[in-house]
């Protein structure tokens, strides 16, 4: 301890002149408001801002200068022998020198800031610059300057030794950086990494790097003593070892996270993609959000990127496509998977987008993909990447949604702004004919009270449009937007969900004041039947298990005491309904523009069970009541 104190005191005494330089630098910001003729709050802010910049520069420069000269400079000139020929341990020497250097950096920082803080009589102009608060900011700042000091120290030893080991150092550093960059990119690509993880990484990795540098500097002093090359060797081997182990540990963690199977997913959410058992699974596994393409019939799965909500499936259910980007700045590449081939692997196509496409749809046969990127609709052949044509169809400020109306026709529903300052819109329908590469506006609606929600029939010939909170729901021509029928109009908002049955009949799922109900209309829009469910609640319609027979889950209103939804089987032909299960929710995505799932397929029997604390994916036959857990905890 006496050695440490003696060395620290000596270092502080020898280099105390830097504090005078810091004091001189601290006076400079006081002149800024005078020169710029600022007064009041503006003067204080400019003073504070200049003081922070200047103090950080002084402290950073000092950290670099001291870091690169302390120990390494003395070993190089053999002056370190003065200490090593005295009863001072290597640890005391190392700790004393670096502590003194850090104390000088802190003192210089404080001294450079002090005049402005005193004149401002407040820390606030400085504090406002730090989003994390003064205490955390101070800790981060000190950690940063310590990091700079230690990095400079390591660099000083490595460079002054003039050893060929320096080349190996650079190589190892590059490999570690590459490994971490690659890990980060993969995590970013395949898992929704919450901000807390990045914060955790900063909290874990920065101290780890600090610890590695501290240990390495200590070993360089203890093992090298008066021999700079030996010091460099000790420094490098320590750093390599610690960084290597850390990299391997992080890589192992990253691989473990990314290798998580769907069975490990908690809080899962699923939406079906096609007539078969393929679903997009999302949920939390091993601490991060993950997305999978999952076949409920075979258990086959593929981890897909975070852009899972854009996953598209062809009308024949045989091809899935999605986009993946190596980083947040792209480019976004289309990847495909053959769903009907047992051993198919994802294929990276030659289709790239410089910006993230807002919509992605596959043609009915899965041979073409239409994407809307920055208001431009492009159609490309999946197998060759050959462009079939592109056209501007929208201003990117206004929402537009494409779908294949025919193999040669992509139709786009565009919501143009209606009255200024309101959410009202005009629905405009455009057609892009691929063979001629021509865009035609086929129809425009009257001004609709926004926001509007649109559902498209299986063939695309008709659409249902719900205006503001269900005040009006209309059946319209899918090409011209001309109104065919008004399905519902009420003076007060009604929670309603319009959709089409497989035979083309529109249905409204309503949560009226008394109870939940389904209103069934003819294909032409004439009211056919109203089926009232015995409970109130929000309805979520499921798939048809047979033509006209579908499942509907009913969520009880808040405060009703029941949280799990009740599942009803509704026969739209007979006008009957019966409760068949509790806690099951159909695996559908109500926001999908166009539903084209045939009745009675595997997709109609998939439900999310919410009875347990953990959500599970189950296969349920509403007619027999037979239930099998596909993923998640058994009941």
């Amino acid at each position: 301890m006496s050695g440490f104190l003696a060395v620290t005191r000596r270092e502080l005494s020898e280099k105390r002149f830097v504090l005078f330089a810091a004091a001189a630098a601290g006076l400079f910001p006081l002149a800024i408001p005078i020169v710029a003729r600022l007064r009041g709050a503006g003067a204080g802010e400019s003073r504070g801002f200049a003081a922070v910049i200047l103090a950080a520069t002084v402290a950073g420069g000092l950290a670099i200068a001291l870091g690169s000269s302390v120990l390494s400079g003395e070993i190089a000139t053999r002056r370190i022998g003065f200490f090593f020929s005295r009863p001072v341990s290597a640890g005391a020497l190392w700790a004393g020198k670096l502590s003194a250097a850090m104390l000088l950096v802190i003192a210089a920082l404080a001294i450079a800031l002090a005049p402005s803080m005193i004149v401002n009589r407040s820390l606030s102009p400085l504090g406002d610059l730090f989003p994390t608060g003064p205490a955390a900011s101070c800790a981060i700042g000190l950690g940063f300057f310590l990091l700079v000091l230690l990095l400079s120290n390591a660099a000083g030893i490595a460079i002054r030794s003039r050893s060929p080991l320096l080349a190996a150092d650079v190589l190892v550093l590059a490999l570690v950086a590459l490994a971490f960059w690659s890990m980060g990119m993969r995590l970013q690509r395949f898992a929704v990494v919450p901000g807390t993880i990045y914060w955790l990484l900063v909290v874990v990795l920065a101290p780890l790097l600090l610890a590695a540098l501290l240990i390495a500097a200590h070993r360089a002093t203890a093992k090298g003593r008066t021999d700079l090359r030996e010091a460099h060797r000790a420094l490098s081997t320590s750093l390599w070892l610690i960084l290597g182990v850390s990299t391997v540990a992080c890589a192992a963690w990253s691989a473990w996270v990314l290798a998580a199977p769907p069975a490990s997913v908690k809080d899962l959410y699923a939406r079906s993609l096609g007539t078969q058992g393929w679903v997009v699974l999302s949920g939390r596994t091993r601490g991060l959000e993950a997305n999978y393409l999952y076949d409920s019939m075979t258990g086959r799965f593929e981890r897909i990127s975070n852009e899972s909500w854009r996953t598209a499936i062809s009308g024949d259910g045989r091809t899935a496509a999605w986009v993946e980007a190596p980083s947040q700045v792209g480019p976004w590449t289309v990847k495909t998977l053959r769903l009907d081939a047992a051993n198919a692997r994802p294929v990276e196509t030659r289709i790239d987008f410089s910006r993230q496409p807002s919509s992605l749809v596959l043609s009915p046969q899965g041979d073409q993909i239409a994407a809307l990127e920055n208001g431009i609709l492009s159609v490309t052949e999946l197998s060759t990447g050959r462009s079939r044509g592109s056209a501007r169809v929208s201003d990117r400020r206004y929402p537009a949604t494409p779908f294949f109306a025919a193999p040669d026709v992509v139709r786009v529903l565009r919501q143009n702004p209606g009255r200024q300052g309101t959410p009202d819109v005009q629905l405009e329908i455009l057609e892009f004919r691929i063979s001629t590469r021509k865009v035609t506006v086929t129809g425009t609606s009257e001004t609709l009270r926004g926001p509007v929600f649109v559902q498209v029939g299986a063939a695309g010939e008709r659409i249902v449009v719900r205006e503001k909170a269900g005040l009006r729901i209309t059946l319209r021509d899918g090409r011209t937007a001309a109104r065919l029928a008004t399905l519902r109009e009420s003076p007060s908002p009604v929670a309603s969900w319009p959709f089409f049955l497989s035979d083309g009949r529109p249905v409204l799922a309503l949560n009226s004041a008394g109870s939940g109900a389904l209103e069934i209309f003819s294909t032409g829009g004439a009211s056919e039947r109203r089926i009232v469910l015995p409970e109130r609640g929000a309805l979520r319609p499921g798939r048809e298990i047979a033509a006209g027979v579908l499942t509907v889950s009913l969520f009880s209103p808040l405060g009703s005491g029941r949280t799990a939804p009740a599942l009803y089987l509704v026969d739209t032909n007979a006008g009957t309904s019966r409760r068949v299960a509790n806690g099951l929710m159909p695996v559908v995505d109500p926001w999908t523009l166009q539903t084209s799932i045939l009745p009675g397929t595997e997709a109609s029997r998939l439900f999310l069970s919410t009875e347990d604390a953990r959500i599970s994916l189950v296969r349920f036959d509403p007619t027999t009541g037979r239930r099998t857990t596909v993923l998640g905890p058994q009941p």
Partner: protein
């Protein structure tokens, strides 16, 4: 690390007790270059050991190893019975060191150096430092970097002696000093030796000064310890023999007259032969003088410097064959 063998010059008692400083088969390498190889010696308590060698012989590397400042490639350096590398901090509390190059921080004054050292040595005697600096005429408040080379050496000697060390290690302390400064330095050192009988390891080129001080001497030549002996014994067995060779009726050739001696250096001069022998024996010399054809033979004792030159130095002119013709 190889197991080094104990040097042979120690008595059995000294071998078992903690000798102040000891080298056991030390080899020091810098890359492929070997600074010293398989060097073993020990300095017994109370001994003043002069480690001699030409520039680049490996003395400073060896001293750094012995002080635990540098790790030998193989072998072991020991201080007071402990490994110098691992027990350096504890051992150096008993060792005063004066390095080859004055290495104190240039900005520190002698006073500040003393203040710094005072915290490290429990037996620190500030008065002795002041007295010595006063005696040397070194200003205590002038930065070390501004002192003359002689003053720097004197400051470091004052620091090395201020805590009454059990062992002094002086690594060529008078290198580059003028005669007066050298004299002052050695006088101070001798004074301390006389007062306390300190053990010392000294490397130096100032052989004349060390001759009266050293009790034992070791000579390093191209990294190897070629001589390790008590000074008295060394000086007793080395002699210079000068003589002239004459042809006689019974002596027809030269070259075998020095066979009785181990001649380390033989030079042919205009007046005859100048030889240095390392196994002096009065009786053998008497027989040599009586040899047919050997005329005017006379023997003289050698100074330490002459012995060193004979042992470690390169010949000034081509060395003749033993007993070469005059």
């Amino acid at each position: 690390m190889s197991i080094a063998t104990a040097p042979s010059n120690l008595s059995p008692a000294a071998r078992t007790s903690a000798v102040p400083i000891e080298a056991r088969a030390i080899t020091v390498r810098y890359g492929r270059a070997i600074a010293c190889q398989d060097v073993s010696f020990a300095v017994a308590p109370g001994e003043v050991y002069a480690l001699l060698g030409r520039n680049g012989a490996g003395k400073s590397s060896l001293v750094r190893c012995l002080l635990g400042q540098q790790r030998p490639a193989s072998g072991e350096a020991r201080l007071f019975g402990g490994n110098s590398w691992t027990t350096r901090t504890r051992a150096l509390a008993r060792v005063g060191v004066v390095p080859e190059e004055p290495d104190a921080p240039p900005a520190m004054t002698a006073f500040e150096i003393a203040q710094f050292c005072r915290r490290l040595y429990p037996r620190w005697d500030s008065g002795s430092v002041e007295r010595r600096l006063d005696r040397f005429g070194v200003p205590p408040h002038v930065p070390f970097g501004r002192l003359s080379k002689g003053q720097k050496g004197q400051v470091l000697l004052a620091m090395a002696l201020a805590f009454s060390p059990e062992l002094l290690v002086l690594d060529d302390p008078t290198l580059g000093l003028d005669v007066v400064a050298r004299r002052a330095f050695w006088d101070e050192f001798l004074g301390d030796l006389a007062d306390r009988g300190t053990t010392a390891l000294i490397t130096t080129h100032d052989l004349a000064a060390i001759e009266g001080i050293a009790t034992r001497v070791g000579v390093l030549k191209t990294g190897q310890l070629i001589l390790d002996e008590d000074v008295d014994i060394l000086k007793a067995r080395f002699r210079r023999i000068r003589y002239a060779n004459r042809m006689t009726e019974t002596r027809k050739d030269f070259g075998n007259e020095l066979d009785a001696f181990d001649a380390t250096r033989v030079q042919v001069r205009g007046w005859g032969i100048d030889a240095v022998v390392s196994n002096w024996d009065d009786a053998a010399f008497e027989r040599f003088r009586q040899m047919d054809g050997v005329e005017g033979a006379e023997a003289s004792a050698l100074s330490l410097e002459e012995i060193f030159v004979a042992v470690a130095g390169e010949p000034l002119q081509p060395t003749a064959q033993k007993g070469g013709a005059a």
